[in-house]
Symmetry: C2
């Protein structure tokens, strides 16, 4: 990372500024996670919801409402909603198939079985649904219903497209919108909607969440090929081993020679990987400057995010969100 | 079954009466199942949504709205909503763990992998969510959000309670409300709500759906021990082999001698089953008249369902729903 962000990390500043509201979100999350009838539920969710997540998505909702001068309590409801949807998605993402389990992937669902992951995820989603109904805003419900559909569609698309070399940057973008940006943009948009600000401002908030989410996911995919496992909790090359086509590889495939294409077909499409393949993949990414060009794309999306923010009035939180955007990018520069 | 219902089966009469609306429901389901981005989705859902289901749940919504003199189009939206939720639940229910797969259970998810079942289920649920938001009724959304939570909670409860001999009739009832009755009662209730009828009538519709759903599930659990596989699509004793405590066994366990209790502990709790165990289980059910007493319970719930209907004004559809209730019970008498 090369930069010293100690004590000045933008999401920590944001968390400090929103501390009071974040406490209320945490209290609400704990209350709604409870199940009188099924004690297994808080057991499964506790390690996900409690365990030191950055609460990035709920903070986006709180930050948006704060910038818009919102004075009510529904920002807390919606922040908890967004975190529940996120956690439900993580649980469902943890469901793996027999073959993947056999390859020894360390996933949260090995602590619990597949069935618990699915059903507890459903429970969290239904809790999110109840929370949003409590806001009484049909517009908020509409936004979150559409975001849910985009998320689910993106996940299914990833399932079919991620091992297919025909997957291009446009399809990648759809997948990224589904798996990450749709919830980011819904989180910021609903913060504006409950505050009753103008359509222009709501749109700017949506655009900010969308672009930030895309930048965030591109950076994540980039870190998979250049990160240190301590920083990301992932090992370099996980996506390659899981045969997941992400932007760096898509860029390298687009410029591949015949031999190179045969390599990607064997390793990603057919999944026939052997020792040394990851090193060769990294070499090919280097040869086509795929990581550098992916980093440029992340920068473009970060710039879009910041110019969307600049359509909003000046506000201390706006500066924190601008800094947050730079920080997301700083992880790979 | 012993009765000749050919051409006079109550659900067929109901389907004939509601044919026009049911066509609209089917058209809407097909339209909303489509996914521009992820063609895998209709592939997975087609065999579930298209393939000759009885459309019982959507018919309940249409029937309730019809009895209440509803003149709009949202009954069609809500009927499709209910069917999507049902189908999503089936898909998530199909997710099995490695051990279960190894025992060779023939499930729909063997056609597709676990991950597709989960994600396509999520997609259908998000589509259901969009459909209900379109009705613009916060009360309808509240009912369906609560039903979703009850369903998910019931499923998790079943996961932990179904192999535990301490599970009693009260817990069984909670599970049954979750897995079956919550969607039945939401289906009938929303039909009344969109029609704008009195609270008494809405309550009667809810009570009907709840009691019918419970009777329906008890009958289903009973058929598992006394049905013919052609009538039910299941083999006798599936629940026993899957170590699922249902009402007949709960009743037999409650009156078990020490030896009998050891048998249930070994076969259900520990899952150590051998040849002849199913026959012995059937003998124990017989010894304690567990099937007969389960049948009586089903009758009590069917009577509750019918008396709830009788709180509504006379109507041709009311008679069909009364007959439907008798028909559910006739499967086991």
């Amino acid at each position: 990372m090369g930069l010293d962000h100690a004590a000045t990390k933008p999401h920590e500043k944001l968390a400090a500024h929103l501390a009071n509201k974040l406490d209320q979100v945490n209290t609400l999350i704990r209350a709604r996670m409870e199940s009188r009838h099924a004690p297994r539920i808080p057991e499964v969710t506790a390690h996900l919801v409690e365990a030191g997540g950055k609460r990035l998505r709920p903070m986006l909702t709180l930050a948006a409402a704060d910038m818009c001068g919102y004075g009510g309590d529904f920002d807390v409801h919606l922040a908890a909603t967004v975190e529940f949807i996120h956690t439900a998605t993580l649980l469902h993402d943890d469901v793996v198939d027999e073959s993947a389990q056999r390859r020894g992937r360390p996933a949260a669902n090995l602590l619990w079985d597949n069935k618990s992951s699915v059903l507890v995820g459903d429970y969290l989603f239904s809790r999110a649904f109840q929370l949003m109904v409590e806001t009484g805003s049909l517009r908020v419900l509409d936004i979150l219903a559409n975001a849910s559909a985009t998320i689910a569609e993106g996940e299914v698309l990833q399932l079919t497209a991620s091992r297919d070399l025909a997957t291009n940057e446009a399809i990648y973008l759809q997948i990224v919108r589904g798996k990450t940006a749709a919830l980011f943009s819904a989180a910021t948009e609903v913060g504006g909607v409950i505050s009753g600000v103008s359509e222009d401002q709501v749109q700017a908030l949506y655009d900010y969440g969308d672009a930030l989410g895309i930048a965030f996911q591109i950076v994540d995919d980039l870190l998979d090929y250049q990160g240190q496992s301590t920083a990301t909790g992932k090992n370099v090359g996980d996506d390659f081993r899981e045969r997941k086509l992400t932007l760096p590889v898509i860029k390298a495939v687009a410029e591949a020679s015949e031999d190179e294409r045969a390599f990607w077909t064997r390793t990603i499409e057919k999944g026939q990987q052997r020792d040394g393949d990851l090193d060769h993949a990294l070499e090919l990414l280097e040869r086509h400057d795929a990581l550098g060009r992916t980093r440029q794309d992340a920068n473009v999306w970060a710039d879009k995010a910041k110019s969307s923010l600049n359509r909003l009035a000046d506000h201390p939180v706006r500066q924190m969100l601008l800094d947050l955007t730079d920080f997301v990018i700083a992880r790979v520069s």
